[in-house]
């Protein structure tokens, strides 16, 4: 009787099963075909929780939509759920569909704005449909992103601040940052950390057809799972990488991986209802950008080097992990201790480090790997 998709962490699964962990969607002529579907999604501890998700033709839910500034983008959405839904991208007012009836279809066409990291969501019954799982990343590459000195950045040159130009120009030239500049065409140098949370009781009420007043969602929200790109804990980093690893999807899209001197962009977003405080070990990150109240991408006037940063709901912040020599090491490269150096990133508001009320650290945690010195 259950015709829902199953999203299972294990790839050994029934034919209906798909794998959580977002993947890049390739647009044919700027056209994305998305569906909205009800799924039973496997949590890190093996529990299945009712969710709503966007899909495209790939197995993974919540495809990562990647376009270039100025592209004419067409998004066709088929609502395969039994409830009405909508579509929106905060910061791109023209990318909006007010309502798609159950079983219905709709299309939106718009011009991709300036380069940066955006999030697509179902904004209806906010925040209910979003926290049920209807969110994904929308990434706009800049048409002209280089600084005047020729360093690539993920932002359109017209948006640059002196601080942003200084950070990207410093990579590969400043004495602290020997090695490479940021390389935008290398998929290993472009990471997505899209956070959210799951409240199974809320999900069960929605699944049972209960009408949930949107204003009641935040005061009663009790998250029990905390996710990065739909994954938690052990699943949120690949534990074996080789030449076959596809860095554009799944846990490999989360885990920064490279040698010293390979600066890596991290697109950090929060689709959920908790204000997270992500904390990174091993290196500090440069805070590059933020999203303002209307959702626009704003490059930082001052780029702070942080090991923890507040990430409120709907916030989108781009960060640069410099992959510099961990500055407090003594013998470098280490002689006794083998590479890779492995450093965790976790939310320091530690309730987020749990799954189902315990299970530390199967929550919002991943790590990054430095595979060698220069």
């Amino acid at each position: 009787m259950n015709r829902r998709k199953f999203l299972m962490v294990s790839t050994v699964a029934a034919s209906l099963a798909t794998i959580p962990g977002m993947a890049s969607a390739q647009a044919a002529n700027g056209v994305f075909d998305l569906t909205i579907e009800a799924v039973d999604s496997e949590m890190i501890d093996g529990q299945f929780v009712f969710s709503l998700m966007f899909f495209n033709k790939s197995a993974e839910g919540r495809p990562i939509l990647e376009v270039t500034e100025g592209d004419i983008v067409t998004i066709n959405i088929s609502n395969l759920d039994t409830r009405p839904h909508g579509f929106g991208i905060p910061g791109i007012p023209t990318a909006s569909i007010a309502s798609i009836p159950a079983g219905g279809q709709a299309t939106v066409r718009f011009t991709a704005p300036v380069g940066g990291s955006y999030m697509y969501i179902d904004p209806t019954l906010a925040p209910l449909n979003r926290i049920m799982g209807l969110y994904g990343a929308f990434i706009v590459k800049p048409k002209l992103g280089t600084t005047l000195a020729g360093s690539a950045t993920p932002f359109s040159r017209a948006s640059h601040t002196p601080a942003i130009a200084a950070v990207f120009n410093a990579m590969g030239t400043h004495k602290r940052f020997p090695g490479n500049k940021w390389i935008p065409t290398d998929p290993e140098r472009d990471k997505l950390w899209l956070f959210s949370q799951v409240d199974p009781l809320l999900a069960a009420r929605v699944d049972a057809g209960e009408v949930i007043p949107p204003a009641s969602v935040v005061p009663s929200f009790v998250p029990r799972y905390f996710t990065i790109n739909g994954l938690s804990g052990y699943d949120a980093a690949p534990h074996k990488v080789d030449e076959t690893t596809d860095w554009t999807k799944g846990a490999a899209r989360i885990m920064p991986h490279g040698r010293q001197g390979q600066p890596t962009l991290i697109r950090n977003m929060n689709a959920g209802l908790c204000t997270h405080s992500p904390h990174i070990h091993g290196n500090h990150v440069f805070k590059l950008s933020d999203s303002n109240a209307s959702g626009a991408v704003v490059c930082a006037a001052a780029s702070y080097e942080l090991d923890a940063w507040p990430l409120p709901p709907l916030s989108r912040q781009d960060l640069l992990l410099p992959f510099e020599r961990p500055g407090d090491t003594i013998i470098w490269p280490p002689v006794d201790e083998p590479f890779p150096m492995r450093y965790v990133m976790h939310c320091h508001t530690e309730m987020s480090q749990t799954a189902a009320g315990g299970n530390y650290p199967q929550g919002l945690v991943t790590h990054w790997e430095m595979t060698g010195a220069l």
Partner: protein, 343 residues
């Protein structure tokens, strides 16, 4: 003493599984510190003490703290909450030895950038059953802290943390080389406590039990170890300075709340998370206007310089905001009031 490192027994080279992430994490006793060199300074922490703090409502709450067995006097070796300060000079080779005494723990020197083995995270290295010496050489002067990284939601909440300050080579009195000098220093280590959490066993939840560590409802709010009914008078919280003196506040958010702070005096933030501002072209010191709230989330630090120009009593208010609702914790009672007294 173990003489050879067996990396296969650790998260460095061992097989990482769901179990080694938490329930059955890598643990070692007397693991040899890799690339060990002669230290300039030794610190040691034991984890063998719990304290019962009297609370403002006439109850007590249990905390766990690290103690300092190398402290100069017996009084200083007694347990404190928060755990005792570590203080180093920039460029010193530090050996920081943990002896858990019972159970397994780690020391993570938060904001310090050592090798993986010296970073104190069990599932990528190991937890410490018996003595391990963490080794690092701080290259930044600023405000950090240290804490246990085993079952971290619980152990950090229980008080297994303390401030860690790195002074520049010229010593205390200067925030960082080339940065501001100060006359009066105050560490404001901000915390909140949910008494429900303080009755648990140290491994609670680690093997899959639902012990409710996803829910945090703090009832107690503390500034540098002082409950908020005393923070307008206790000298651990109140700042005393004279006109013409420069105050340095080292603000550490060790709570699980979004911390909103409002000061009646203007200041300038000269470093964040241990990183000096204004030394490189990509940032600058950040002015903080009087009476304008600013927010830091869990584990963030700010070093704020204040130069009072007039006598007076200047209030400071910290509001602990719930990470989901954004409302002041404990039905609006999650507030610390303290003051800067300028004479």
């Amino acid at each position: 003493m173990q003489t050879a490192a067996d990396w296969e027994r650790t998260g460095v080279k061992g097989e990482v599984t769901y179990a080694t992430f938490g329930c059955n994490v890598f643990q070692e006793s007397n693991f040899p510190t890799p690339d060990r060199v002669k230290p300039d300074v030794n610190v040691e922490r034991h984890m063998d003490v719990s304290l019962n703090l009297p609370t403002p409502d006439g109850k007590t709450i249990r905390v766990w703290t690290f103690s300092d067995p190398l402290a100069a006097t017996p009084a200083l070796r007694l347990p404190t909450y928060p755990s005792p300060l570590m203080r180093f000079r920039q460029g010193q080779i530090v050996h920081s030895t943990l002896d858990p005494k019972k159970n397994a723990h780690t020391l993570h020197h938060h904001g310090i950038e050592p090798t993986t083995t010296n970073d104190g995270v069990g599932h990528v290295s190991f937890e410490v059953n018996a003595r391990y010496t963490y080794q690092f050489r701080p290259h930044r002067a600023g405000t950090f802290f240290y804490h246990c990284h085993r079952n971290t939601p619980l152990h950090f909440e229980m008080g297994m943390f303390g401030p860690l300050i790195v002074d520049p080579p010229e010593g205390p009195g200067t925030l960082f080389s080339g940065g501001p000098k100060y006359d009066v220093e105050k560490i404001w280590c901000v915390d909140d406590m949910d008494p429900r959490w303080h009755t648990m066993e140290h491994s609670s939840g680690m093997c899959g039990e639902d012990v409710g560590l996803n829910r945090f409802d703090p009832k107690y709010f503390l500034l540098s170890g002082v409950f908020n009914n005393k923070t307008t008078t206790d000298t651990r919280a109140v700042i005393q300075a004279k006109v013409g003196q420069t105050i340095l506040i080292r603000l550490i958010n060790a709570s699980y709340s979004v911390l909103e702070t409002t000061m009646a005096l203007p200041g300038v933030c000269h470093s964040m998370d241990g990183c000096a501002l204004g030394l490189e072209p990509w940032n600058a010191p950040l002015p903080q206007a009087a009476n304008r709230p600013f927010v830091i989330s869990t584990a963030q630090r700010r070093d704020i310089i204040i130069k009072p120009t007039a006598k007076g009593v200047f209030p400071v208010r910290m509001r602990f905001l719930n990470w989901i609702t954004g409302q002041v914790q404990d039905g609006g009672r999650g507030i610390i009031d303290t003051r800067i007294v300028v004479t």
